[in-house]
């Protein structure tokens, strides 16, 4: 082993130790626990595949898988579009841009629990500001668009929409990454397009997005990994999985309830294994799609940033 590699390993050691002790070992223990019945009070008992068999018939898990996947399918793209849109809007120097950037970042800085409680108030069907706003100019208890106001916490569809809505404001991190990536793009690329007389749409489609593609790819995968868990606090605090039976019950909530409310740690570990598998499948699908697109030159899978 060369000196460089030894040094590299030495520098990595603290991280690797942390990774093994704090992540990999607990993860392995969890996977092992999935084959037991464990309540942490009495000893645990090996049950083989029983937990996984029960998973397949558990209505909460079934509903949660559907909910989690639909959340993934709606929230991840919307969050990305919003973050990219705002980053492109706010990358130029202009008046109040600093304030606007801070405003985009701010919701992400609010502690999750407080953020959830805030939305509980915002989404209050009658007194909440969201519906108050929607009903401005509306008549007879209808919104300004003439429809009935959304019943955020009592209608299944509206509640799911509410959870997605909540997720759309915590895009600060994604926003910062896109913003930084955009600022790092070479001005020549834009001048080149300008010289050819490209209009804004063409610049976006043919210059900005392809150049940002490597970053966006990473962000999509990252957001997918996170979003299965990201739905947890809002559902615990705002909807508690309801409206009943399982309108906003996501896997993270099922896991929490089984483990910490019903003390079924073994079964909850099986739910965790399911979550892990779903995440892996989602990322695998994205990765294959992106690779296919990259090979067709649709996204910059091969692209390098300037200077390389």
């Amino acid at each position: 082993m060369s000196r460089d590699r030894r040094q590299l390993l030495l520098m990595l050691t603290p991280y690797l130790v942390g990774l093994v002790v704090l992540v990999l070992l607990p993860a392995a223990a969890t996977m092992a626990m999935a084959f037991t019945e464990t309540d942490l009070i009495a000893g645990s008992r090996l049950v083989g595949w029983d937990n996984f068999v029960e998973l397949t018939g558990d209505p909460a898990v079934r509903a949660a898988v559907g909910n989690s996947l639909s959340y993934l399918a709606v929230s991840v793209p919307l969050r990305l579009v919003l973050a990219v849109g705002l980053a492109l809007l706010l990358h130029r120097r202009a008046r109040a841009v600093g304030t606007a950037r801070a405003a985009v970042l701010l919701p992400g800085a609010v502690p999750e629990l407080a953020y959830g409680l805030l939305w509980l108030w915002l989404l209050n069907p009658i007194q909440g500001p969201v519906n108050q706003l929607l009903m401005l100019g509306g008549q007879g208890g209808r919104t300004m668009f003439g429809s009935l106001p959304p019943q955020w916490l009592t209608d299944p569809e509206d509640a799911r929409a509410g959870i997605v809505l909540m997720s759309l404001f915590t895009i600060g991190e994604t926003f910062v990454i896109v913003l930084t990536a955009r600022l790092a793009l070479p001005p020549e690329a834009y001048e080149l397009a300008e010289l050819e007389g490209a209009h804004a749409g063409q610049v976006l489609r043919r210059v900005t997005l392809p150049l940002l593609a490597p970053v966006l790819t990473v962000l999509v995968v990252r957001d997918t990994l996170l979003s299965l868990q990201a739905s947890f606090v809002p559902t615990l605090v705002v909807t508690n999985g309801g409206p009943p039976p399982y309108a906003t019950t996501y896997l993270s909530l099922v896991l929490y309830q089984d483990a910490f409310e019903y003390l079924r740690y073994g079964y909850a570990a099986a739910v965790a294994a399911l979550m892990l598998a779903l995440t892996a499948v989602a990322v695998l699908i994205q990765w294959r799609l992106l690779r296919r697109w990259a090979s067709r030159g649709l996204v910059g899978g091969q692209a390098r940033l300037p200077g390389n």
Binding site: E191, A193, E194, L195, E196, G197, L211, G300, R304, P306
Partner: protein
């Protein structure tokens, strides 16, 4: 005949920085004009003003007689090669070359055909399916050239296109650029800080300093009759020696205290052991050998002077030499304005004090 490109009194201010201070410039149709100047002189600003990338704060820009001062870059019909990064990394060479056509709505097949043709012009037809990161520096600039050639713009703008290449490649590429230009005969503005590149390429050279044009002339004129002391000292490697008019060299017929005298290193003759009457004596301080030639740093009456002599006849450091300069090789510049002073005919030889 209308000029290919003309600028009248162009001013350009960006923030607190004034980049161009009243530039007048006319480029003939089909001419290759090189803009030469040290860094910070405003060369790139001049190109950007022509392209419309930076809006001018005063003056007018005309392309082919058409006033484009108020037009956006896309409406000016110009093409530009940047110093670095002229290619989009996510596109293949073919797509990069065809980029402008595609933006302007050409269909994929027609654009590809034109791209292949342009690529052939600069000899990169074998690279069409590659991506920029798979290319060498020279190949990249070749592709960048093909990208501007694919259209027929009214003016080509090249912003130090060879600056990032190594010396050998630079020389080869500039020959090719000249060849392509001669074939196409397009009006071209070429920016560089490299005076040998300027000399080799330009039909004419515009020397830019501090946002102003000091001289626009053929390379010969710029070399032999620099309009200002700055042009004199900037053009040439090394540039012209400049000494006070009342120093060791004298030129009759001019007011010695009001001028600066210039002589190119190539025109300084060093002789013997400093005892001949050929010129004033000087001490050799340092000698740099550049293959066939040598640069000899001479201290002459308290002034530094560089002479370019054949390497085999060079003196050694510490030698005492006579410094001879033929009068026809002396240039005189006004001490205050720095402008060239026309010399009276039949002036005598420089003589020792």
């Amino acid at each position: 005949m209308t000029a290919g490109l003309s600028l009248h009194g162009v001013h350009l201010t960006r923030g607190a920085v004034t980049a161009l201070r009243g530039v007048d410039l006319v480029v003939d149709r089909g001419e290759l004009l090189v803009v030469l100047g040290p860094s910070g002189a405003g060369k790139s600003s001049l190109l950007r003003a022509i392209a419309g990338l930076d809006p001018v704060t005063g003056g007018t820009v005309k392309i082919g007689g058409r006033d484009v001062t108020g037009l956006r870059p896309g409406q000016r019909n110009v093409s530009m090669v940047f110093q670095s990064y002229s290619l989009l990394p996510h596109l293949t060479v073919a797509d990069n070359i065809a980029f402008g056509h595609r933006i302007r709505g050409a269909d994929r097949r027609a654009a590809a055909a034109r791209a292949a043709q342009a690529a052939a012009t600069v000899g990169c037809q074998d690279l069409l399916t590659r991506r920029p990161h798979q290319l060498s520096g020279g190949e990249r600039q070749r592709v960048a050239l093909a990208r501007v050639l694919v259209r027929e713009p009214d003016v080509f703008l090249l912003d130090e296109p060879l600056a990032n290449l190594d010396a050998g490649l630079r020389t080869r590429m500039r020959t090719e650029i000249r060849a392509v230009h001669d074939r196409l005969g397009a009006t071209t503005v070429y920016v560089t800080h490299d005076q040998s590149e300027a000399m080799a390429l330009g039909d004419r050279i515009a020397v830019l300093r501090d946002g102003r044009i000091e001289q626009v002339d053929t390379p010969d004129e710029v070399w032999h009759r620099p309009r200002t002391r700055h042009v004199a000292s900037f053009v040439g490697a090394p540039g012209m020696n400049l000494l006070p008019g009342d120093g060791p060299l004298r030129l009759p017929g001019v007011q010695a205290s009001a001028v600066e005298l210039g002589v190119r290193p190539e025109h300084v003759r060093l002789g013997g052991d400093g005892t001949t009457r050929d010129g004033p004596p000087g001490d050799v301080e340092r000698v740099e050998v550049l293959g066939e030639d040598a640069l000899v740093h001479v201290r002459l009456g308290g002034h530094a002077l560089i002479a370019r002599v054949p390497a085999r006849t060079r003196p050694a450091p510490g030698d005492r030499v006579t410094v001879g300069v033929a009068e026809e090789h002396l240039h005189a510049f006004d001490l205050v304005t720095g402008e060239r002073i026309p010399l009276p005919a039949g002036a005598g030889r420089a003589a020792a004090r």
